[in-house]
Subunit: 235 residues, 2 copies
């Protein structure tokens, strides 16, 4: 049943077309929670599910493991990387620093075009209520920020981190009133960047991204529930 694979997908110019698509497909399932942290990923099961052999599945899994989205357990096969509260905290601390760096550089170096794109992305978020819609538009905003940093290498790294943090970001936006707060913070960030206030932008971004206090507790609880569902599933 290869109908599970998305069509040609012209953007994936990666090695091994099939493995590329498989990677995206499996990653999607991890991100959306269909395969929650802790869930086992069986090579043959996946191969059958996607209607391919083990080889491209393995390639996709190896790549996912290399970016730490999944892990290989000694004698238990592959599993979606479980994430302890501590690790979650560290991850967001790191992400916060990356984005702060992007902001700092953007405040200094952003071209008018990049600034305009950032502004447009911000405006697009205004008034959006649906968490899923906001989730997507929020990502666009943040990507525009990364790009405004002007450091291609940094952009790559931050994009990859964004990918890794994606499952958790998604959960966060379900915290009550988070969307409104998020938008207000974006406003301040944009203002700082436009004013070439590098340190201000950095600090605001750090605060914006890092998850603290009640928000963190809420996030941990969500992840716990999520993980539990996954354990049930792997029967």
């Amino acid at each position: 049943m290869d109908s599970l694979l998305s069509p040609p997908s012209p953007n994936s110019s990666s090695p091994s077309p099939l493995a590329g698509q498989l990677l995206e497909a499996i990653e999607e399932r991890i991100v959306t929670g269909e395969y929650p942290p802790g869930a086992r990923l069986d090579e043959v099961e996946l191969a059958e599910a996607f209607g391919v052999s083990r080889t491209p599945i393995r390639e996709a899994l190896i790549r996912l493991a290399t970016i730490h989205m999944i892990e290989k357990m000694p004698r238990k096969g592959w599993a979606v990387s479980p994430v302890s509260p501590r690790r979650l905290c560290e991850m967001f601390e790191f992400m916060g620093e990356l984005e702060a760096l992007c902001g700092r550089l953007a405040a200094r170096r952003a071209t008018p075009f990049q600034l305009q794109k950032l502004l447009a992305a911000h405006e697009a978020c205004r008034g959006v209520k649906d968490p899923d819609d906001y989730y997507r538009l929020n990502e666009v905003f943040h990507v525009a920020l990364y790009e405004a940093s002007g450091n291609e290498f940094l952009i790559e790294q931050t994009l990859e981190m964004q990918r890794r943090a994606r499952p958790y970001r998604r959960l966060q936006l379900r915290v009550p009133a988070r969307i409104d707060n998020s938008f207000a913070e974006h406003e301040e960030i944009v203002a700082a960047i436009r004013a070439n206030d590098a340190e201000g932008a950095a600090e605001k971004l750090r605060q914006h991204v890092t998850v603290q206090g009640e928000r963190f507790a809420h996030l941990v609880k969500s992840v716990e529930k999520w993980r539990a569902a996954g354990i049930d599933r792997r029967s």
Copy 2:
């Protein structure tokens, strides 16, 4: 001729023992310049050279590509990632920021034990003249710094970046008087961390890692030579 593979290698608990060793072996050759930037890596050639089939070679290459040490060219096979001067600059800017972050956190949070390890690593560098020896001891020092940050996630990321930057770091130490300067900078960094001067440590590390001015020109020239040698070789 499997004699090319290092023996059992107990540390590599990674998936696929063979592929793990192959990865390390190929990476080593990239780092030492045996496979310089731009050099082609042929699957069958490597398979024959290492006395294995294409499968584990492929796994190793996929993993190397995932950490961006090599790339897959459209119809040209795999090649060691070529690095433009601009990219080199961006890479070191990024690495500088990562290390600065480690230093900032270390100044705030380092445990006495971590501090002691950092100091010991620093002292071990004193008086070392040989670039290769210093290269190794310098790495130990920097790893001790990362660990002192206390953020496991950050440590992982920084270690991975260190890996990626390794080929170029090695070249840098061949710049005249670089070793002495490097050691002196370490001294200042350690002092700042011991004094809990977070911002001072961060700034000194940024300066220490980022490659600028004459040093950068020198580095670019070394890389150019290196790359040229690689192009010759792939005849």
